[in-house]
């Protein structure tokens, strides 16, 4: 019975990735449809009602200004939600032990969870962009940079989701990360207004918000104008993503709060 079959080193990673994608796909009404509807409501409010009446960036309608921010908000929220909810539920229900006893390496573990979260985040982002076409057209000045920034943002917040899932002891503490860290960072990060119109003190403080660099970089890549240069936006984004990846890798490599 127990003859050894040929071991395929990359198969644990592919399987875990497949399982994670199917996990969010299975409850697509919650994981994909709900964020798309939320973003659509924002688009309706800022696109159809205010979009043509106000302008915060010369040469662009407010709808054109706000759509990149809304797209990235969807990407970030969903990348974070995917890793944090999946890993936390596995820890909470105890089925994480199923993975811990298999030859899935810590690197495969992190990359599979991260890639699934990026796929979900980017799917929501694409859907929000598709819906936004009804309200405004975007110039897509630098599409490669825009895709790169969306991928970087989803990677970064997938790591943040893993870290939050590991440190959270219950549902309340997990929601704290979302409500008291992620949400304020998004809303104060320049989704709805350019940082340059803020008073100097608040504009200065906004530079401490990592979301500002991601959102501004993404908008810059799409509209061709932004508060920061693309290289600064990417530089800060890559630095933050590397830091969070290192932190998540350390926790998962050591099995912190995963292995007793």
């Amino acid at each position: 019975m127990s003859e050894q079959r040929r071991f395929i080193p990359w198969l644990p990673f592919v399987t875990l990735l497949q399982k994670e994608v199917r996990r969010f796909w299975r409850v697509a009404s919650q994981t994909l449809l709900t964020p798309i509807i939320t973003a659509s409501l924002y688009l309706f409010v800022f696109g159809a009602t205010l979009g043509e009446r106000i302008s915060v960036l010369p040469g662009f309608s407010y709808a054109q200004f706000v759509i990149p921010g809304l797209i990235l908000m969807g990407v970030i929220n969903n990348a974070f939600a995917n890793t944090s909810s999946s890993l936390f539920m596995s820890r909470y229900l105890g089925n994480i032990v199923d993975l811990l006893v298999t030859p899935v390496t810590p690197a495969q573990f992190i990359l599979a969870y991260t890639l699934a979260a990026m796929i979900r985040g980017l799917l929501v982002g694409v859907a929000v962009w598709a819906i936004s076409l009804y309200f405004a057209e975007l110039p897509w000045t630098n599409p490669l940079a825009a895709i790169g920034m969306a991928a970087l943002a989803s990677f970064l917040f997938a790591q943040f989701g893993l870290i939050a899932a590991i440190y959270s002891s219950n549902f309340d503490s997990l929601s704290m990360y979302s409500n008291f860290i992620l949400l304020p960072l998004i809303y104060l990060g320049g989704v709805f207004y350019p940082i340059s119109i803020l008073p100097p003190l608040w504009a200065g403080l906004s530079h401490l918000n990592p979301l500002f660099y991601l959102i501004d970089g993404f908008r810059h890549a799409i509209l061709g104008v932004g508060d920061l240069s693309l290289s600064i936006a990417f530089g800060v984004g890559i630095l933050l993503a590397s830091g969070l990846f290192g932190w998540a890798a350390l926790l998962i490599g050591k099995g912190y709060r995963l292995r007793s």
Binding site: E3, V97, T102, R259, S260
Partner: protein, 311 residues
């Protein structure tokens, strides 16, 4: 021969409280080995350290000669583990989860083996139900299939029949015997000592993190089991008759039954003669060979504590 599992000086503590204390034992390939002990004895902690779900404080574990920390990619493929807790993922069906588990172990799906597991464990009619809709018994069956899906040469079963009905228990043990005859080494823990007595060639007993016994089941029963003479009395006694206190006899059943250990003390005839000489009427007698349960209680001290609380 390289042992299927070798545990050397294994130690584990939680927040300074020892859970496993310097235990050493080995399991030979092809054995069915029982690891017994009361709740909190350290059995599951030991199993989790072998499987890789729990970190090792000190000591060494080798699976078929490979270190389970240094060569974990190999040793984890050699082990299939069924955990004590019902560990399931409510998002997926039995069929999907079994396929995933093949992949986690780095082997492609073997449809014939998967079908065989499904058939032998009676999972066929429930294959496409999501886990949350399965009964407790079905979840246990599924967990055995999951542990075996990559055809491991060492199968670890942690309380596989806990909360399982009699019929399923028989099915499970028949299946375990079958895969054992096909070459799979089995390490099992169970609270049903009768099952361990019937299934296991060798038994280790743990208590408070220590290994308190490690012998063949037969030797363990022979060494610690002994025989007991049970005497049903017509009238209850308030105290043991003179001459029987020193041989370890005791009164039970509100003084209506006397239990006399027959390990070198008086034999049955002498006991009856002594009772008759003191005018104590005997209603019935029986001799009983101690089972694993008595051995277990003796080694873990549970019986002694119960007797003390009876007094």
């Amino acid at each position: 021969m390289v042992p299927a599992l070798s545990i050397q000086n294994l130690t584990k503590s939680y927040d300074g409280t020892p859970a496993v204390r310097n235990i050493t034992f080995a399991i030979e390939p092809g054995e069915i080995f029982g690891l017994l002990g009361p709740n909190g004895a350290g059995k599951s902690t030991t199993i989790n350290m072998v499987a890789g779900a729990t970190r090792i404080d000190s000591g060494r574990i080798e699976v078929f000669g490979q270190d389970n920390r240094r060569d974990y990619l190999l040793t984890r493929r050699l082990i299939g583990v069924m955990h004590q807790e019902l560990v399931i993922d409510n998002f997926f069906t039995i069929d999907q989860t079994l396929r995933f588990h093949s992949g986690y172990y780095g082997v492609t799906d073997d449809p014939a083996w998967r079908r065989q597991l499904i058939e032998r464990l009676g999972l066929g009619p429930h294959l496409h139900k999501i886990m949350i809709k399965l009964s407790g018994g079905l979840k246990r069956r599924f967990m055995i299939a999951k542990a075996l899906i990559h055809k491991p040469p060492l199968l670890i079963l942690d309380e596989p029949t806990a909360g399982v009905d009699v019929e399923l228990r028989h099915t499970l043990w028949d299946f375990v015997r079958e895969i054992n005859t096909q070459g799979t080494t089995i390490l099992l823990t169970t609270h049903y000592l009768e099952e361990a007595e019937q299934m296991c060639g060798r038994i280790a007993i743990m208590n408070h993190g220590d290994l308190v016994a490690l012998e063949t089941t037969a030797a363990l029963l022979e060494r610690l089991g002994g025989r007991t003479l049970l005497v049903e009395l017509r009238q209850p006694l308030v105290a043991l008759p003179p001459g029987l206190e020193r041989c370890g006899a005791r009164l039970a059943g509100n003084g209506c039954r006397m239990e006399v250990p027959m390990n070198g003390g008086p034999d049955a005839g002498e006991v009856l003669g002594l009772l008759c000489s003191q005018g104590i009427a005997v209603a019935d007698i029986e001799t009983r060979r101690a089972g694993l349960e008595e051995v277990f209680l003796k080694l873990t001290g549970i019986g002694r504590r119960e007797r003390e609380s009876e007094r």
